[in-house]
Subunit: 251 residues, 2 copies
């Protein structure tokens, strides 16, 4: 049985990350969340807060993936240009979403009222639906296969939570990890052989240096749990055959 | 005086980051390092460990930026395909670099010798120079405007150190930050005005929620220090004019 692979891309909008001032956290959290939905994060682009850069990334990525997520640039200030750029990419106008206006009116009723800058956060590309924001006022936006999320990681986390189980996906990619105090170069042939003899797995080798010693974690990825387990068992045996001990779960 | 802007792109190669298992640290460290060299990180792509994905990213990014950096995939194992993919992108063969062979021979002389898998790390696209690796054996590679770096962040840090001061750049982008316990939506007009009245600055607004309170940091970026200082002074005065106190350096 061949299983269809579902893919997603992520566009991070992005001056704050590109300047090196802030460490991105959305790539890792969205990747992990997608995997549980049976969707593979296939590619990420971090682009500047410039309309042309956003339009190019959005149009390339949404066309060749099942889903496109974006993070950042949906707040009330002048540097929040994501909605306008995505509407431009899709060739649709920007409109006020009545339900978003209502949500923001309710949220700001006790917080100084819905001023013009705040009302900006109810603007969406025409045809869009809202994604519930469980953490603060402004909702996320879904338009076609594009999911427009917040930049602040814990707000994005709440939006992902609201989307959980609503996107069609395939089998999640499972991973099994073992660790070994060995230079990866000493076991390169053995790794290549283990991958070759278990069709459908991908083995990643991730070296590290810790406490003055060289080690590596080996990650076996597959959608078939029994296959991943067999590969890990064979790889463990092969590593132990060289006289080394193996740490289940990784080091 | 119009100053030429120098730009760089980064291609992160990439399954380990895309799976969500590992948090990337190279984007932030390379961005910060580039800025000191007077080079702006203009865009980042995180691509899968697949030749086609790497070739596409490398050719697009190297052509429209002054420099392209890549991280990851230059080790001794089967999943290390960066050198081959970049050679393919450049249309040149892969060759052994004599100096890289010598470096690796010396490094492994007391570590079990230069085995075949280890010798793989001396393979480079034809015409390449080496980038010193001050942390472990395998060097980085420079070929044309492409800089091929390690995936392990502290090894990349050593390679960046070796490159410091060797790349032509322009004026570094300076940033000045102030923080304020305010919802950014309340000061959106004031921010827009401050950016508009100081040509050459970009103001970013970065909201947060901490200890149950809403705040934001405002980052003024410019290549001209006096201009950035003037903008920060005016913005501080404007924020204080609304009865709020401003925290120099950010919250």
């Amino acid at each position: 049985m061949t299983t269809r692979i579902w893919t997603a891309a992520l566009a991070v909008i992005g001056d704050e990350i590109l300047s090196g001032r802030t460490q991105d956290k959305n790539v890792a959290q969205i990747a992990a969340w997608l995997n549980v939905q049976g969707i593979r994060l296939a590619e990420v682009r971090i682009v500047a807060d410039k309309p042309d850069a956003i339009v190019e990334a959005v149009n390339t990525l949404r066309e060749r993936n099942d889903y496109l997520f974006t993070t950042g640039g949906i707040g009330p200030t002048h540097d929040d240009i994501t909605v306008d750029a995505i509407a431009e990419a899709l060739g649709v106008p920007v409109v006020f979403h009545p339900q978003a206006v209502a949500v923001l009116e309710a949220y700001y009723a006790t917080r100084g009222g819905l001023t013009e800058p705040r009302k900006r956060m109810a603007r969406v590309p025409e045809g869009a639906d809202l994604i519930e924001n469980r953490m603060s006022g402004a909702p996320g936006i879904r338009v076609g296969n594009v999911f427009i999320m917040a930049g602040v990681p814990h707000i994005t986390a709440g939006m992902l939570d609201a989307l959980t189980g609503t996107l069609e996906g395939g089998l999640p990619v499972l991973s099994r990890t073992i660790g070994c105090w060995v230079a990866e170069s000493e076991v390169a042939d053995l790794l290549r052989q283990a991958e070759k003899s278990h069709e459908g797995v991908a083995i990643g080798s991730y070296p590290f240096f810790r406490d003055g010693r060289t080690g590596a974690n080996f990650v076996v990825r597959a959608t078939d749990a029994a296959l991943a387990d067999r590969c890990i068992a064979d790889l463990t045996q092969a590593l132990e055959g060289t006289g080394r001990s193996v740490v289940a779960g990784g080091i």
